[in-house]
Symmetry: C2
Subunit: 105 residues, 2 copies
DNA sequence: TGGTGACATCGAAACATGCTGATGTCACCC
DNA sequence: GGGTGACATCAGCATGTTTCGATGTCACCA
């Protein structure tokens, strides 16, 4: 099995969905792009907290920013999410094939 | 922060991919089913550590067990992983649609 | 039936992560 | 130019997670 470095990057990116607030942010951004203040009022979280999660999502490449005047708009990068989905689909296919294969002890 | 139950379950499950050792275990199980001892020798991790991660994966429904004599075989549940992949694919589609929609401040 | 080997469970310690208040930067408007 | 509001960064803490050694259970075999 191939374990290229990108795989671990992908895993870390998928892992980001694990936090409830981050998952909430992703879902909100999936409906329309928003600036930080919208995310704050939608989630009720503090500004610094939102900003922190957005940084993680940005670093993982799941989200991109567009500064617009004094506001900063955030939107999801559908390609990145589609990549993760593809990775998981491949994994599922591989797992389905491996179901009946087993290694004796 | 309210989230529908299904959402949090799926997110938590995807989140499990975040840990490197767990991701490694999942990848190994994607090639063939294995008992704990195989996973131990492949990863170099301790038996208790492996056992702990397998429990998390099992609780999330990503993995199922089959006790066979004194060994316990583990295998992935391809349907579960395919479900996650589908969820991500839908999210990507939704995000693609939302790209040009934005909420003025 | 007693020994051994596979696996699960249980704290405790090490470690990572999320949240917060304080503070910095920068665009905008008076 | 000074005030304000949007957002980023930082350092500390609180909390959760990973890992570990010790221990328990259970199947197998001599």
């Amino acid at each position: 099995m191939l374990m290229s470095p990108e795989d671990s990057v992908a895993d870390a990116a998928v892992g980001l969905f694990g936090d409830p607030l981050r998952a909430r942010i992703v879902r909100l951004l999936a409906t329309e792009q928003m600036c930080t203040c919208h995310l704050i009022e939608q989630t009720g979280a503090r500004q610094t907290t939102i900003s922190h999660h957005l940084r993680l999502l940005r670093r993982a490449g799941l989200v991109e920013t567009e500064p617009r005047g004094r506001y900063t708009y955030y939107r999801l990068r559908p390609e990145a999410i589609a990549d993760l989905a593809d990775g998981l689909r491949d994994l599922a296919a591989q797992a389905a094939e491996a179901r009946d294969r087993y290694r004796p002890c």
